[in-house]
């Protein structure tokens, strides 16, 4: 039994480490012309029983991906880099315009509405992937 447990851990440990995590409402804002960074938004849900820590966001389509938070101080805004995203067991975290977002930098190809991109993230040490669709934003800042 112990051998079987060790074998299971060896073969499936990475998948189990990210169990219960799902990525919903994922979208990338179609950027205006220019070579500036692009924002991606999503909801991370954790249906598992362990707190999930997400970091090292990546995408083959972008040279660099960072998690940022837009912080409001009076009527001023600051962008603050976040080293990791903690999602409590049974909880969720929303990345939305005006708040936390993924900053996708240096796209290899033009980012236009309708295109899909795959992103990955380290989730409690395991790798998880999800897809994002580019769309044009027409709504007010939440």
């Amino acid at each position: 039994m112990t051998r079987l447990g060790a074998l299971l851990l060896l073969c499936c440990g990475q998948a189990l480490a990210c169990e219960g995590i799902s990525f919903e409402n994922v979208w990338i804002r179609e950027p205006p012309p220019g070579n500036g960074p692009v924002a991606a938004y999503l909801t991370v849900k954790n249906a598992g029983t362990e707190r999930a820590v997400l970091k090292d966001w990546r995408s083959e389509a972008f040279a660099h991906v960072m998690l940022h938070a837009t912080k409001r101080v009076d009527d001023r805004v600051q962008m603050l880099h976040q080293a990791e995203l903690a999602v409590p067991a049974g909880g969720s975290v929303v990345l939305a315009p005006g708040g936390m977002h993924l900053m996708l930098m240096k796209a290899g190809v033009p980012v236009v509405a309708g295109k899909h991109y795959r992103l990955s993230v380290s989730c409690n040490g395991a790798s998880a992937t999800f897809d994002a669709t580019v769309r044009r934003e027409e709504t007010s800042t939440p």
Binding site: R29, P31, P32, P33, G34, G36, P37, V38, A39, H68, T70, R72, D75, R76, V77, Q78, M79, H81, P97, G98, H101, M103, L104, E137, E138, T139, S140, T141, P142
Partner: protein, 213 residues
């Protein structure tokens, strides 16, 4: 002069003059604020005044002359800002659409985006950036000194913050300002930006401004 050398009648006279001056000041203050309606975003009775400034757009200089005689919705930002800036310009596009039937905006309104990142935002790139949202939008930038001539009197803050690897972000005031045809900053709409609120605010503040030239 010692206190003993002042006659009681002179003291009473001084007290009366002080009382009258104080009362006049209070009455003036009350009168100045008595007619201020509860309009969200209205800066009254002492709106900041825009002074001379000169910035560069792809169509030439943008200065106080560009604002005179117009109702201007003004936002400061930069194109390497991925979150608040495109969201705000998308909101301003909605505001412009909502105000299409407002005669003041339709005849005399304009939207101006000013970049506080002249090192990365050329006037040509800025023009392309704002026209993605609405071809009527204007955009400009300038040197630090040129920007400060406008941002200073308005109390707008912008400061570079290094983010590593030679890159930087810019902390900046994210309110949308409403400037009237006499260059008074009559309105200020803070975050979160909502198109319905700003459109209603534009209508109420421009009505108020025309009644208080």
């Amino acid at each position: 002069m010692t206190d003993a050398s002042v006659s009681p009648s002179f003291k009473a006279w001084i007290a009366l003059v002080a009382f009258v001056a104080l009362s006049a000041g209070l009455i003036t203050a009350v009168l100045r604020t008595a007619d201020v309606p509860a309009i969200q975003g209205l800066l009254w009775p002492d709106p900041p005044q825009i002074g001379p400034f000169s910035l560069t757009s792809d169509k030439g200089r943008i200065s106080e002359e560009t604002l005179k005689g117009r109702w201007t919705l003004l936002f400061f930002g930069f194109t390497h800002c991925p979150d608040i800036c495109p969201s705000t310009l998308a909101t301003l596009k909605q505001v412009a659409a909502r105000l299409a039937e407002n005669k003041t905006f339709a005849d005399h309104g304009q939207v101006l985006f000013i970049s506080v990142d002249p090192a990365r935002d050329t006037s040509a790139a800025l023009a392309e950036y704002v026209r993605y949202f609405d071809p009527r939008f204007l955009a400009a930038t300038g040197t630090e000194a040129e920007l400060n001539a406008l941002t200073g009197p308005m109390g707008v803050i912008h400061a570079q913050v290094p983010t590593g690897g030679g890159e930087y972000s810019i902390d900046h005031t994210a309110s949308i300002f409403l400037i009237d045809p006499q260059l008074r900053v009559l309105g200020k709409f803070g975050l979160p930006h909502d198109a319905a609120t700003i459109s209603a605010g534009f209508t109420a503040i421009s009505d108020f401004g025309r009644a208080h030239p």
